[in-house]
Amino acid sequence: MAETEDQEIVLSELDDGELVEQMQDDLYDGLKEEIEEGVTILLGRGWAPYDVLTKSLVAGMKTVGDDFRDGILFVPEVLMAANAMKAGMAILRPLLAETGAPKIGKMVIGTVKGDIHDIGKNLVAMMMEGAGFEVINLGINTDADAFLAAIDEHKPDILGMSALLTTTMTYMKTVIEELKSRGIRDDLIVLVGGAPLNEEFGEAIGADAYCRDAAVAVETATRLVTQRAAAT
């Protein structure tokens, strides 16, 4: 807003409520150093690491995710925001581990065999982390054996697969068939995404859900993990 645009904002002079709101704005604008400073200030004021994560970073990324989903922000802005969040997370992660903060769930994610596109997949990974999930990111060109080895090792709640090419997206079906043949398909929530996919495609290959973008992936993962926890 014009009347406040030129004002210098000193984060340490803001009260907790204002600071959290400012951090959400700074996250939206992808301001990495300001996020690091804000996280440090809140911790210095005695905030629990988990509260810093959820009230400033996760809440801020929710707005970013909503605007991404609604076609107001695009990949570059969301990447900047996610990088700022990552910087905050780097400070919080060791503290969260010490304080035994709750994890929502664990995800193994990768771009399928033959496909090198990982922009969207990395966004999903970062936003899932921001939402409190533990994420094991297998990178690009991931074949069924690599997915299965990671599943054996990490015992995730969720398997995420990404493809950007119409010539690689069918490989997701190959991986799901492999899960079925090993009898572990139903142990996992399988989420798929990528530009050429759609909901019907996800259903037809036997995934639990198609996620249109990273924001939808976080929403869907949270919902399905919660449902599954309630059912057991």
Binding site: G71, V75, G114, D118
Partner: protein
């Protein structure tokens, strides 16, 4: 003068071909395998695909080199054969036109590297130009008429590919994929893209839209492209609908009849090079040719008219952006 400009001077509308990658799948291309490897291993299958498009009446063939830059072929252990693979791609396409007596443009496909460019990602401008230059050198050696830079989403990558084409002395075209709320994935809007093309020191022969999320979304973007094109011809190369999986095979929702109607609409929108992308078979192109030959340019449709004939937009532009609450403070 390059072959595409020559044909554009002779004909009001040119028909481009259909898909390469998705059409090699029924021929046996495995999920995740590199289509470009077939230029070395199974050239007859690639040639047969091109021949199908030639027989269907295409004026322009896009080569089997979409993923033919070193940064992508690296994945398949083929990055030491970039020039050879791209040269073969152009030669195979050219050989498919032999004996037709028609002038058919060989458009050397150049797809994105798949990497994010600096400062967001690791790929520097120089490295991107070098990767595209190597690929375009191969296409040129193989006799391609121009570099057909396609499915782009990042302005920086478009600039790098165009720069490489110009440095190689090749004519070029650029098409972007408007698959995200009326923009490219990286947020490039059709109008802004059009203006950036016009403003280049060496402008493309033509520019436009390809791939994306269906014919309706593509033509909605094409309206803005044409409005901002100046004198540059606009390309429309839409997917044949969206992919559905039927048992073991992927079927696209766009029938040949729908793609024929898409051609008529594309003409009315003002596109001058019209073709299909993923899911578009020779049979689609045949009906697209008939539709084009029988059609006289009609009134320009608006988005509503496009949707009424081709179906709803898959990823419509954001509505009500201006209504969103103002943000608290914004730093400079």
């Amino acid at each position: 003068m390059n072959a595409l400009t020559t044909l554009l001077e002779r004909y009001e509308i040119l028909l481009a071909d259909g898909a390469v990658g998705t059409n090699l799948i029924p021929a046996g291309l495995a999920a995740g395998a590199a289509p470009e490897a077939w230029n070395l291993d199974r050239p007859e299958d690639v040639r047969a695909l091109h021949e199908g498009f030639v027989e269907a009446g295409a004026d322009l063939l896009v080569t089997n080199s979409f993923g033919g830059s070193g940064r992508r072929l690296h994945l398949h252990g083929l990055d030491d054969r970039v020039v050879e693979i791209n040269a073969r791609a152009a030669e195979i396409a050219r050989s498919a036109t032999a004996g037709t007596g028609r002038q058919i443009v060989i458009a050397g496909s150049v797809g994105p590297t798949g990497d994010l460019m600096a400062p967001l990602g690791p790929l520097s401008h120089e490295a991107a130009v070098a990767a595209f230059a190597e690929q375009i050198e191969g296409l040129k050696q193989g006799g391609a008429d121009l570099a057909w830079i396609e499915t782009m989403s990042a302005p920086e990558e478009i600039a790098a590919a165009a720069e490489a084409a110009v440095a190689a002395g090749m004519a070029y075209t650029v098409t972007a994929s408007f698959d995200t709320a009326g923009h490219t994935m990286m947020g490039l809007a059709p109008g802004a893209f059009a203006r950036s093309m016009r403003d280049r020191e060496v402008p493309p022969v033509a520019f436009g839209a390809n791939c994306g999320v269906g014919a309706a979304d593509l033509l909605a973007a094409a309206l803005d492209l044409v409005d901002n094109a100046g004198a540059l011809p606009v390309i429309a190369k839409a997917n044949a609908g969206i992919p559905h999986i039927h048992g073991e095979t992927v079927v696209y929702s766009g029938t040949p009849a729908l793609m024929a109607d898409y051609v008529r609409l594309a003409v009315d929108v003002g596109a001058r090079i019209i073709g299909g992308c993923c899911g578009t078979t020779a049979e689609h192109v045949r009906q697209m040719r008939s539709a084009l030959d029988a059609h006289t340019r009609g009134a320009r449709p608006d988005v509503e008219a496009i949707v009424a004939r081709l179906g709803a937009l898959v990823s419509p532009p954001a509505a009500g952006v201006a209504d969103r609450p103002a943000r608290r403070r914004r730093r400079a």
